[in-house]
């Protein structure tokens, strides 16, 4: 509860600090301090040292898993603000409002990691999405940003309508907005869901798949990620997407039995489609930014395995995957924003001009591809191990491995451009602090890759 209240308050504080000061870097420091406060408040909540107790009548329930995810999300946002804060300042004139909106998104994240009913799910998704529509359109004079914003907004609110219809149908069938498993008929031991409930859950599934950009509901992702200012794409593609997955898993952990055996069939269809479309289309992209948008679809395919397996290993897996994917993607975007040309050719010869940037980018790309000794390897390993442990879907694991191999191709294309091609990669001015930050982030990626329990142990302590 601490995190929800404090993040909303900090959003308001940020808005008003825009009136008090016009100094952009002061605003960045206020945001960074606010994030540290948020992490501290959330840790106090996690370890029951100080928590604001409000009777939510069962609408929210805070467990270790959700609270720990909050800490990670706030930590990732802190890294993001430290690395890319200066680019947020350059995104437009309303800097205080951008940080305020980021805090409101974090409020949505902390609701989504603790919701215990469909009402809070709906509110969390909306609090998460509405600020993002604005951030996408932050570059007001740029037609691409306008287009991305309008497209994201229309698609997003259309999906909200579908999600609400799903919620209404589930409510009609069960008479409550709760998330508990449906009652079992005592004589036969099976559940007998009504037609309304099944239809409602399918609509909810479609809406959530849209929010995490799983195929076949992914079509908005490349355009929106491409059109939005790169700093905000970085935020949207990492923390927000991970929060979407946490909500997806929370929603379906008890409800999936309602759909019976068809649940796994639907889900494996979605996983294969997501991996296929994400990876194959990424191969043909000319722009690195668009390639990263498709790669985020492909990574979503891997994260869906947590939903498919639904055991303890997959809970650990989704935490590790969120960390590995978020850190690497924040790092790559931080470098990408500095490039003056977003195509693959724009990276030609970067290793000679900016060896530090090229080296860090290589580590991040290796992590995304899942090469051992980087965080991405164990993230993918935990996901697939969870599916193997669950049993009965070895073929799906083999397909996933095949697509992981495909993904190596387009990630290595960037490395190849940086190291083995002649060219004159132009970058914006790069400060020493930025380089140090990148190196620290790369070190963190390697640390998590060698020692994944440094992240996972905190789930249990």
């Amino acid at each position: 509860m601490n995190a929800i209240i404090l993040s909303a308050l900090l959003g308001v504080v940020m808005m008003f600090s825009g009136i008090v000061t016009n100094n952009k870097s002061v605003l960045k420091y206020i945001a960074a301090v606010g994030l540290l406060l948020l992490i501290a408040a959330n840790l106090l909540d996690t370890y029951a040292l100080f928590k604001i107790n409000i009777n939510t009548h069962g609408l929210l329930s805070f467990e270790k898993f959700g609270l720990y995810f909050n800490t990670l999300a706030f930590g990732a946002t802190f890294i993001y603000v430290c690395l890319s804060g200066r680019d947020v300042e350059n995104a437009g004139i309303n800097v205080a409002e951008y940080f305020a909106l980021i805090f409101f998104v974090l409020c949505g994240v902390s609701i989504l990691s603790g919701f215990n009913g469909l009402l809070m799910l709906f509110l969390g998704i909306e609090i998460l999405s509405i600020p993002l529509y604005i951030l996408t359109g932050a570059d007001k004079r740029n037609l691409k940003s306008n287009e991305a914003s309008l497209k994201y907004f229309l698609m997003g609110s259309f999906t909200t309508g579908i999600m609400l219809m799903g919620i209404a149908l589930v409510y009609g069938a069960t008479g409550s907005f709760g998330l508990e498993a449906p009652p079992v008929i005592p004589t036969t031991g099976v559940i007998n869901p009504s037609f309304l409930q099944v239809a409602g859950l399918l609509l909810l599934f479609v809406a959530m798949a849209f929010k995490v950009s799983a195929a076949p509901f992914h079509f908005w992702t490349p355009d929106v990620y491409d059109g939005a200012p790169s700093v905000f794409t970085s935020f949207m593609a990492t923390i927000v997407k991970a929060a979407g997955f946490i909500a997806f898993i929370r929603l379906f952990q008890h409800q999936s039995v309602v759909l019976g055996p068809s649940w796994k069939i639907i889900l494996s269809f979605v996983i294969i489609a997501t991996l296929l479309i994400g990876n194959i289309t990424a191969v043909f992209q000319q722009s690195v930014k668009r390639m990263l948008a498709y790669s985020s679809i492909a990574q979503a395919g891997f994260m869906l395995f947590a939903l498919f397996a639904g055991n303890d290993l997959s809970r650990e897996g989704i935490i590790l995957y969120s960390v590995a994917y978020s850190l690497a993607t924040i790092g790559i975007f931080a470098v990408l924003i500095k490039m003056s040309d977003y195509t693959f050719d724009g990276f030609n010869g970067l290793a000679k001009k900016q060896p530090v940037l090229a080296f860090a980018t290589t580590i991040f790309l290796l992590s995304l591809a899942g090469i051992p000794l980087t965080a991405g390897f164990f993230a993918k390993y935990y996901m697939l191990a969870a599916v193997v442990k669950e049993g009965g879907a070895l073929w799906l694991v083999i397909i996933a491995l095949f697509f992981a191999a495909v993904s190596v191709y387009y990630y290595f294309k960037v490395i190849q451009a940086m190291y083995f091609k002649e060219g004159d990669a132009e970058t914006a001015e790069v400060t020493g602090a930025f380089k140090t930050g990148l190196i620290l982030l790369a070190a963190l990626v390697i640390l998590v890759g060698i020692w994944p329990s440094s992240v996972l142990n905190w789930l249990y302590f």
Partner: protein, 111 residues
Amino acid sequence: MPIQYYIYLSLALFSIGIIGVLTRRNAIIVFMCIELMLNAVNLLLVAFSKMHHGIALATDPATTAGIDGQLFVFFIMVVAAAEVSVGLAIIVMMYRNVHSVDINFLNRLKN
């Protein structure tokens, strides 16, 4: 009136909304159709709320069952209002740049 009538009515409204979103080219009309979808859901929630209340009333005269459905409707209204304010601002922003609210504008990112 039986509950089926309400379900059919709101599903009809919802479908009109979906068809409108998929076929119309004017951003504001698309937006109106999305609002229609949300209001169809409101109607359905109120109908279900009344139905659950009626069922529970048969056994317990002082029941509050079904009240949460109507509560949900208020939240939908609030969120819809927030969405309208953001959405209209985005449409105005687009209109300032291209002097049109036509959805066909949305194809510059494809290439």
